[in-house]
């Protein structure tokens, strides 16, 4: 086991050790990669429900009369469409055609938003937003240490949580955000997630995190680790910062171009000027697993690179996301794995879509 003394820890670190989690370093944090096993945890989310500790993610509060104008300037999606009680996927473009981060924005009240950012980017994102804040009548505060965040995901989530809350969860559809009592604790719940399944992300003050975690486990919702989180998000075709997105990758090349609305915002000109010769595509392989960094070939020519790859626990074959030169998209593709080409079929993303329930 790697030395974890220098790593940051979520309020649930002792609970993870108690649950026999295998802990790994992730973005400067000691995080559980698995408890019982990645595939078992993956299947629990696809078939029923499981809970992830995602308290390492960052939360910034943006508040004040200028909050909307500030977020409209800082991000490419149309934040004016976001009403209190609703959440929206969005991004933070930089000034050189890439992303500072991808984010989720929760509108809590008029002039008040919570911005959720990736754990490894908390410091970078806050400095970036602080710099863009000049001239806007808004306060920006980093509340990352105050919040724990538990993601309860899976088709049975609503049924499993309903007996333990004061609100009718069925009234709160996808992207809703609301305050509730859950197991007698005050929480903020959002019908959002990162697995492609239905579910709720539950924000709770850090001091209550372990009590809530244990209540969820007692309600029959098992824990799942970062390993399952990654296979689930990849099956769902969701991009991950540091893989599909980065400071240097043009997000307009991804299938998330829809985030960029026709409005002025910081970084827009640089994005439009950045090279846009590749496309992020889904690949299906026969047997061997394409990992991040594997070259994509057309014949002997390198035409792309794998950004994420795994063996899909649901589909039972290897899947990958890869940036591929647009002029090679119609050609036969292969992925070089351990020096040998393995044929790869381009498939639509998401790789897996849960059945309509």
């Amino acid at each position: 086991m790697t030395d974890q003394s220098a790593l940051q820890k979520t309020p649930l670190y002792p609970a993870h050790l108690e649950a026999n989690a295998r802990m790994v370093e992730f973005g400067g944090w000691a995080m559980p990669v698995q408890y019982e096993g990645v595939i078992k945890e993956h299947q629990a989310v696809r078939e029923r429900a499981a809970v992830f500790d995602v308290s390492h993610m960052g939360e910034f509060r943006v508040k004040g009369p200028g909050a909307l104008d500030f977020l409209q300037y800082a991000t490419p999606n149309d934040v004016s469409k976001l009403k209190p009680g609703r959440a929206q996927y969005n991004m933070l473009p930089n000034d050189r055609g890439g992303l500072v981060d991808d984010i989720y924005i929760y509108c809590l009240a008029p002039h008040e938003y919570l911005v959720v950012v990736n754990a490894s980017n908390i410091g970078k994102d806050f400095a970036h937003l602080e710099q863009l804040r000049a001239g806007f009548d808004v306060t920006l505060s980093d509340e990352s240490g105050a919040w724990a965040l538990l993601a309860v995901q899976g088709p049975q989530t609503e049924a499993l949580l309903q007996p333990h809350t004061d609100l009718d969860l069925s009234h709160h559809k996808k992207n809703a955000v609301f305050f509730a009592q859950l197991f007698g604790m005050p929480v903020m719940m959002a019908r959002t997630g990162y697995t492609g399944e239905d579910g709720f992300e539950v924000f709770v003050e850090a001091a209550l995190a372990e009590r809530l975690w244990k209540a969820l486990l007692s309600a029959g919702i098992p824990p799942a680790g970062l390993g399952a989180r990654d296979t689930l998000r990849l099956e769902a075709g969701f991009p991950l910062y540091g893989h599909e997105f980065s400071d240097d990758l043009n997000p307009l090349q991804s299938h998330y171009g829809w985030v960029f609305k026709d409005k002025p915002h910081f970084g827009r000109e640089a994005l439009q000027a950045a090279p846009n010769t590749r496309e992020l595509v889904g690949l299906r392989l026969e047997k061997a697993i394409a990992r991040e960094g594997a070259p994509v070939l057309s014949g002997e020519r390198v035409v792309g690179v794998v950004t994420s790859g795994t063996s899909s626990p649901t589909l039972k074959y290897p899947i990958a996301l890869a940036y591929v030169d647009r002029d090679a998209l119609h050609l036969g593709l292969s992925v070089e794995i351990r020096g040998k080409p393995h044929s790869a079929e381009r498939v639509s993303v998401p790789f897996y879509r849960p059945p309509t329930r």
């Binding site: 096993g37 595939i39 061997a288 063996s311 626990p313 290897p318 351990r338």
Partner: protein, 125 residues
């Protein structure tokens, strides 16, 4: 950690069982536990000549690919075809149903460990 006394081990977590001139090779219980769910195994071609210490197979878990080094030199005479459809056997039965390949023996690796020495190394890694 299950480490049978009758096998010998490489510090890179392979085991070898010698029956006459046939060496059967797999990965240890400790290794399968560390890897997590095995989802693909790339085995050597039957008939291939391998050297002791050479990387001859790959075991892939959900998260990572691991090279498997041969504890013996010789000719590969059989591979475990069951693993193609059921790679999880490596997790379920690392010393029996989850074996990887068999070598008609030339020489054994010079640095093979007994069970106690291997466990001491595994516990430190």
């Amino acid at each position: 950690m299950n480490t049978p006394q009758n096998l010998r081990y490489l510090k890179s977590h392979e085991w070898v069982r010698v029956d006459g001139n046939i060496a059967t090779v797999g990965i240890t219980d400790f290794a399968q536990d560390q890897l997590g769910d095995v989802v693909y195994v790339e085995l050597p071609q039957v008939g291939r000549t391998v050297s002791a210490g050479e990387s001859v197979a790959v075991v892939e878990s959900v998260k990572t690919a691991s090279d498997i080094y041969s504890p013996a030199s010789g000719t590969v005479i059989e591979v475990n075809d069951d693993l193609e459809g059921s790679p999880e056997r490596v997790n379920e039965s690392p010393y029996e149903g989850g074996w990887l390949f068999k070598v008609e023996l030339g020489d054994l690796h010079a640095d093979l460990l007994d069970a106690a020495a291997y466990e001491a190394i595994a516990q430190d890694s």
